[in-house]
Symmetry: C2
Subunit: 435 residues, 2 copies
């Protein structure tokens, strides 16, 4: 029996209308589910509009990607429901060492969850893609929308490559990733996880990357933020919370006092649902300096911080100093680094902080979408770009993110300026955004 | 339709007894067929024994490879006959621009060709593998025997690797080869062909390498010595003649005079069958210096030389000087380099000789079996070794090869010394053998 073509498969392929990018509602980040339970429990009546934001405007997305293809993929994602085996896994699995992290009532509601409608138009070579509606529905669009757009970009970029060039492309990408794995392997007691869903090159490549880390790093690979890949590979599903929580709460604030309190109100809400290693502070929504300056003492009781927009070493040092001022021993605390990491930054932060604080790395875009130098000829559109899906409005009021890096700020200009007056500009540093 | 396992295929795979390495008698080097026609025509009564010679005795082949597996593969090769479509292609294709290079009577005989019996035992961790019988049969064992042993070595070396490690291994090997291709692409008017059958890692890998050169080098890739791959990929089948011709004729010589004449008698015989670019002298069987010193003037009329055991630049310069002494313009002549080439040596010879002589490169082991640094952990047995299959006896008399590199000499010690007395030791230089 020589190599034979499977006739039925070939004929079926001829009938393909769509190769779906997102095939499961679990193909999302774990923190979305954690946040969703809290939103569902505490803010079920709040509306929040999410919107695609392309920070790299020189890439004209609507010229790279066919709008109908995008619509087909988004529509396909809207047909998905949680499968029975997925619901059983969510109910029966332990997360962060805790059983039944999801309440039965929440799961009962989740069972019928469907991604809500979206609005999509083209303008000036860009997509205007918004997700208006109840927060507890729209929030779930962030990850699949980004994964879909990024994979459609990859597909478009590779359309001109023949089978051989594609073979070389993936061979090189595999070799490149494995070289990174071998460097990371050298770091004893490293704790690193996959945070690469949103900006991944493609689902299949993401899966390969996760399998590579599992195979190559063993216990140092502490999990995946992607719930589906975590389930399928018997890995820990990891992640905690995101900027949308303080952003929405800040937008809803009726007074300056409430606005200042919003970042801490998030923590109060969170504590009702989660504990232990899930008590991770994301301090930079309106500037880390302001957050630390105004934080009540009990914030220092939380397990750790995830500095997400300052350089790892600078951001980590600032938090360690704060813990020490609050009389806490940083060696009992956890820093999670997750902003624009690659092997060099991981290695240097690892050596810098080793022994002084517990640390973990959430490796994203440079794990799941690093094809630089892999194509037989340079294809600019194959490089990941800085694309996000952010909450822009809550109950009709504009939402804002400042971050520690002004280039990562989102929101209306006048609102950003109001927030800057209230929270201050201390510690704001522009850092060029690669992704 | 998700990924489905082909049940019939899986069940068939369970019944596998053998994954044959050599599946076609065309899976051999083209020069074997050219030589075979001449041997069949001129020396049909001569017996010649070929023997496997492992120059890298630190590798204990019989401990790496199971003797029964080897026997199964050799036996399978003996079941092969030229297929009808193969015979039609040999008869109908043009080789080196000439139609009907193979005479109808020769093809008529070839139709029933079968590899002859072999003798295989183990001794001191090595195989004693010999092919006794009529030259026009035993000669054809050289390439399949080497390809089989080298692929069995690869299979054994990779047995400990899981599917993921194998994936990384081949990804790295592909990336590595493609980097070589990209370097070679920089050389205008390069002419390079695949000479890598005998020492290839495996047939499938060989095929990938040939496809890579075709895709990446275009017209600079001038063909493959492998007849099957040439046929399947619409490439030129390339190659001329080998040391076995002068070695057998020398062994048959009844006098010192006849012995001295043997290397030129080969050329006389060859000219009866072939012309043009097939008139390539292989000068080093008993030392290039002796060959050039004693060569009749008409040898300078031949199209080119293939220096095969001296460093490319040194060997090429010697021949260019000789052409000039004979009043020939080297720019009309062709040098074919084929000894232990890799990109570095190709690039340096290319730049050294460019504009002074026509040149072509026959790229062998480092094309089809370079896995250094590709395995997730170093596997010594995955590196190619210096394994040859040489004629050791003709009509009961010992055969000898001196070469320009004493480490490549084969034959009985006393005979080597007799040859050295007759041909001299001028120009003999030891060069460590990698492959």
């Amino acid at each position: 029996m020589a190599t034979k073509t499977d006739i039925a498969r070939r004929v079926y392929n001829h009938t393909w209308k769509l190769d779906p990018i997102v095939r499961s509602l679990l193909d999302t980040d774990f923190y979305k589910l954690l946040m969703l339970q809290m939103i569902w429990g505490v803010y079920p009546k709040v509306d929040a509009t999410f919107q695609l934001i392309n920070r790299a405007t020189r890439f004209r997305l609507a010229e790279e990607i066919d709008i109908e293809e995008l619509r087909d993929q988004l529509d396909h994602a809207r047909t998905l429901r949680f499968k029975k085996k997925e619901m059983i896994w969510l109910a029966g699995n332990s997360f962060y060492g805790r059983k039944q992290i999801f309440a039965p009532e929440f799961l009962e509601w989740l069972k019928d969850f469907q991604l809500p409608e979206y609005e999509l138009t083209k303008k000036d070579g860009q997509f205007e893609l918004t997700f208006p509606g109840p927060w507890m529905y729209t929030s779930m669009w962030e990850i699949p929308a980004l994964a879909i757009i990024n994979e459609l970009r990859s597909r478009a970029a590779m359309r001109s490559l023949g089978p051989f060039s594609l073979d070389v492309l993936y061979a090189r990408a595999k070799a490149k990733l494995w070289d990174k794995v071998e460097r990371l392997k050298q770091l004893p007691d490293l704790r690193i996880s996959d945070f690469g869903t949103r900006r991944r090159h493609s689902f299949l490549w993401h899966r390969w990357c996760v399998e590579a880390l599992k195979e190559g790093l063993g216990n140092a690979f502490t999990g995946s933020s992607n719930v589906l890949l975590a389930m399928d590979n018997d890995l820990e599903a990891v992640g905690t919370n995101a900027h949308e929580l303080p952003m929405v709460l800040a937008a809803l604030a009726d007074s300056e006092k409430e606005l200042r309190w919003a970042p801490y109100q998030v923590l109060k809400d969170w504590e009702k649902y989660y504990g232990g290693n899930l008590l991770i502070v994301l301090p930079d929504a309106f500037g880390t300096a302001a957050f630390l300056r105004d934080a009540p003492d009990w914030v220092a009781d939380w397990t750790g911080f995830r500095p997400d927009s300052a350089p790892a070493i600078e951001g980590g040092e600032r938090i360690i100093k704060w813990w020490e001022e609050k009389g806490r021993d940083p060696r009992d605390k956890l820093l999670i680094f997750s902003d624009g990491l690659d092997v060099d930054t991981i290695v240097s932060a690892y050596h810098h902080f080793r022994g002084r604080v517990r640390m973990a790395f959430g490796w994203g875009t440079n794990l799941t979408n690093d094809f630089e130098g892999c194509a037989p000829r340079e294809i600019d559109n194959l490089n990941a770009i800085s694309l996000v899906c952010k909450v822009v409005e809550a109950d009709g009021r504009p939402a804002v993110k400042l971050s520690d890096n002004p280039l990562k700020a989102t929101g209306e200009r006048s609102e950003i300026e109001r927030y800057l007056r209230i929270f201050g500009t201390e510690g704001q540093t522009e850092i060029g955004l690669k992704v």
